[in-house]
Amino acid sequence: MEDMIKGNHAFAEAAIRAGATFYAGYPITPSSEIMEYLSVRLPEIGGVFIQAESEGASMNILTGASASGVRCFTASSSVGMTLKQEGISHMADSYLPFLAINVVRYGTGLGTLDTGQSDYLRDTRGGGSGDYRTFVLSPYSLQEAVELIDRGFELADKYGMGTILHTEAALGQMMEPCTFPEMKKVERRHGSIDGTYSFERISPLYRDRLKEAIDEKAKYDSIKENEQMWAEESLEDAEYVIVAYGLAGRSATGAVKQLRAEGHKVGLIRPITLWPFPEKAFAKVNKDVKGFISVEENATGQMVEDIALTLKKSDKSSKPVYMFVDAFGVPTMKKIKANFIRVKNGEIKEVY
């Protein structure tokens, strides 16, 4: 039997178990417990813990660690993640893997301390310059977070790019039991910078950008093809499909179960990879579906764009997409259900 553990502590421990030995970060509510935990834990395993002067610096410190081939990570929250965008895009351009945990807090600019999902578009499209992408993984429970952190490191290494664990204040702050895997030992990545000049790094000034553009696109296409992850409920006969991720997805899972029990033909897609977006899940949905409902913890609706884009390129291009956004806070099952009924009754206009 496992003990209750706080989300942020679980994230930190999961990264340690996944073989990460290097952390640099800067405190910010509601993610600070990650680094507080690591300030004890990393020295125990002989790893490196650096409290940097800022989020930006911590990302650049990570750049040196990742270029050295060391499994490394950072964590922050929304406005703090904004400051990491410069480093994230530079690491993307340098093909350097990393894991960054965004314990999202609701709001623009400084934001609030409330739980929310208002960084979806930024994290899936990238807040830095250029065409890069990172993996964006979103857990709905601590157990799933533990697994996704391991998976996130592996994906990052496999494709030479970054992974964002995109989670919410509420998951970072809540407690529930979870199981950790054994400690993994990870070697320094091959072909990394260690002073021995084992390979020649081409200067950014002389890289073949056209070839890289083509390669990047191909790589992203192959990731879209191969790395989608999601959970689903009752898609085969669904008249409506609710789409929600993270804790909204968890609440929606319960809502869908209850609605089914009440006789409603409703299904659920819970994206686990926000990028690549789980388009394949939508292909499994019953052709006669009447519509999709995006449930999000933000002000304007963000993931709804990916739902609409997915449908646009499928045989369901004419299916309406509805949206239920409630600014911040985990949407209650009650509200999700009520909203579903309103959609079903034609009381809500589609957004796409």
Partner: protein, 247 residues
Amino acid sequence: MAIAKKVPEMLSKQISFCPGCGHGVVVRLLAECVEELKMEKNVIFNVGVGCYSLATPSIEADKFDTLHGRASAVATGFKRCNPDTLVISYQGDGDAYSIGVGESFSAAYRNENITVITVNNTNYGMTGGQMSATTMPGQKTTTSPHGRDCNTTGMPIKFPEMVAATFPNAAYVARGSVTTPKYVNQLKKYILNAFKAQLNNEGYSLIEVLSPCPTNWKMTPLQSLERINKELVDYYPLGEFKTRKEK
């Protein structure tokens, strides 16, 4: 016949700075010192963004091009992961003292065991000679067209002096110049000192180099050297601001 003075092996390719640019001398001296310490296979050249970014293709050793201003942070990552490797952070006055001043300051503050070389050519060379934090009072640049007005822009910064005065544990701090044979030789000694301090785990070391940018100064190379010798060294004195404690 033997060769008495030889361009270091790792610099086998031509470098593409403007004629008379001081960066070439600095890069050569760094490579010479690395060679003398036999660290060619145990060194990381970590390079900021400025004209010196043009140098990395010519350096055959481990190297990394960072973002503008972030080199001291990236170097921190390298050093913590490669504690026995010589980590050199090559930056410019724009890179290290303006956009990167937070990272530069904080690496010194943490007393990271790295060597930072800041080439001070009193402007932003790469982007066309804008004013930098080291531009001299009255100096004309593309963003101080009537000459730098220190009343609104501040007095030029003396970073090495600041580091020496502010960070008690810093291992070694000096300012050199590339403008005369004597200064070049002296600068080489400074660099060797800094490298030795780092290899001996003594902590942070910093060397600022006064260096000509004939192109943006709109001077000939020789005039540029003269400007440094006549004008700059008065404001930016050469010498060691913090010497190694004997260990």
